[in-house]
Amino acid sequence: MMGTEVFETEIALVVNGAERRVPKGWTLADLLASLELDPRVVVVERNSTILRDRSSFASLALASDDAFEIVHFVGGG
């Protein structure tokens, strides 16, 4: 049955409300780098849990159907 096996090379995530496909095996640090985001000026929530330790980003493996919110400070009163 080898011929019918689908070999997934990407996984689907939700990032800031929109679906995004990324290569399997990526970490959160890879995702932020691909988005050209400096981890020091953003805050990341994964599946409704805030990731307080930025040093964990490089080892945090992305999983299928993870939902991320990536926020930052903007102008406001």
Binding site: N16, L37, V71, F73, V74, G75, G76, G77
Partner: protein
């Protein structure tokens, strides 16, 4: 100090430092960072205002990069005290979530807590506000609570552990000035924590009149950002806040319904 040193409000000393939760701030004027035409204009206005506390909002990063919204590239956190707000939150749990995200940015554990109750007036939902205040205080936040000009809510917020209570002068962005000076004075007289009037100041005289009520400070955004010349208005607001503060400390003359001559009534020429 001789009166020669007292020629300008800017050189007058204030007998009471402006302290919130044990931290002293150099200006009683706090300003928001929203709605400026450009980041350069915002920075220039903040500098002109002399403000140390500047508020910021928490929002999703625009992953398409259609806008340059990230404010930390422009504001030096060593020079300004960044006070995150929960603007745009319509219930306690959203406000709590935004506050936690803001704290995770790593600057401080302070939050300007807003729980909005109505889209048209942006008036606060004081029930949700009180609930969120309690939760965030328990989590170690320093909560500055944006609220109505209502004494009972203000007292409850203080009781819940808010480090400052921020009654509105009038609705956010309205520029209507202070609608109820009596309520603001009453809140100031009854609370022990600082009272900082937030929202509704439209021009320098509004700011001056607010400070003349004896409150500890003012937070404003649109009054500066929506002026034709925001930088000049920021400088005017700085002067107005200082003038109003010193007028309050100086103690105004009593109001009278009749005229009292300023010049001697004796020594007039004979007919």
């Amino acid at each position: 100090m001789g009166h020669a040193d007292l020629l300008s409000p800017t050189t007058l000393t204030d007998p009471q430092p402006f302290v919130i939760a044990g931290r002293e701030f150099r200006s009683r004027l706090m300003i928001g960072t929203g709605k400026y035409a450009s980041n350069a204009q915002m920075i220039e206005a903040i500098e002109a205002s002399g403000a140390e506390v500047v508020t910021v909002a928490v929002r999703r990063v625009d992953l398409d990069r259609s806008k340059d919204e990230a404010i930390l590239h422009h504001l030096d956190p060593d020079h300004f005290f960044l006070l995150a707000n929960t603007a745009g939150c319509y219930n306690a749990s959203d406000a709590i979530r935004y506050a936690r995200l803001a704290r995770a940015a790593g600057f401080n554990e302070w939050v300007k807590l807003e729980v909005i109750g109505d889209q048209q007036t942006l008036l606060p939902d004081t029930v949700g506000l009180l609930q969120a205040t309690k939760t965030l205080v328990d989590e170690g936040f320093k909560v500055l609570a944006y609220t109505n000009d209502d004494l009972i809510t203000a007292l409850k917020l203080e009781d819940a552990g808010a480090v400052a209570v921020m009654p509105l002068a009038s609705p956010i962005g309205s520029g209507l000035g202070m609608l109820n000076p009596y309520a603001i004075r009453t809140i100031k007289q009854r609370l022990s924590v600082p009272v900082i009037v937030d929202a509704g100041v439209g021009t320098a005289s509004d700011a001056c009149i607010v400070m003349e009520q004896g409150v500890d400070g003012i937070l404003m955004n649109t009054g500066i950002a929506a002026a034709q010349d925001p930088v000049r208005m920021a400088a005017s607001m700085k002067s107005a806040v200082e003038a109003g503060r010193h007028a309050y400390l100086a103690g105004r003359m009593p109001r009278r319904e009749v005229a009292v001559p300023s010049s001697p009534t004796t020594g007039m020429l004979g007919a």
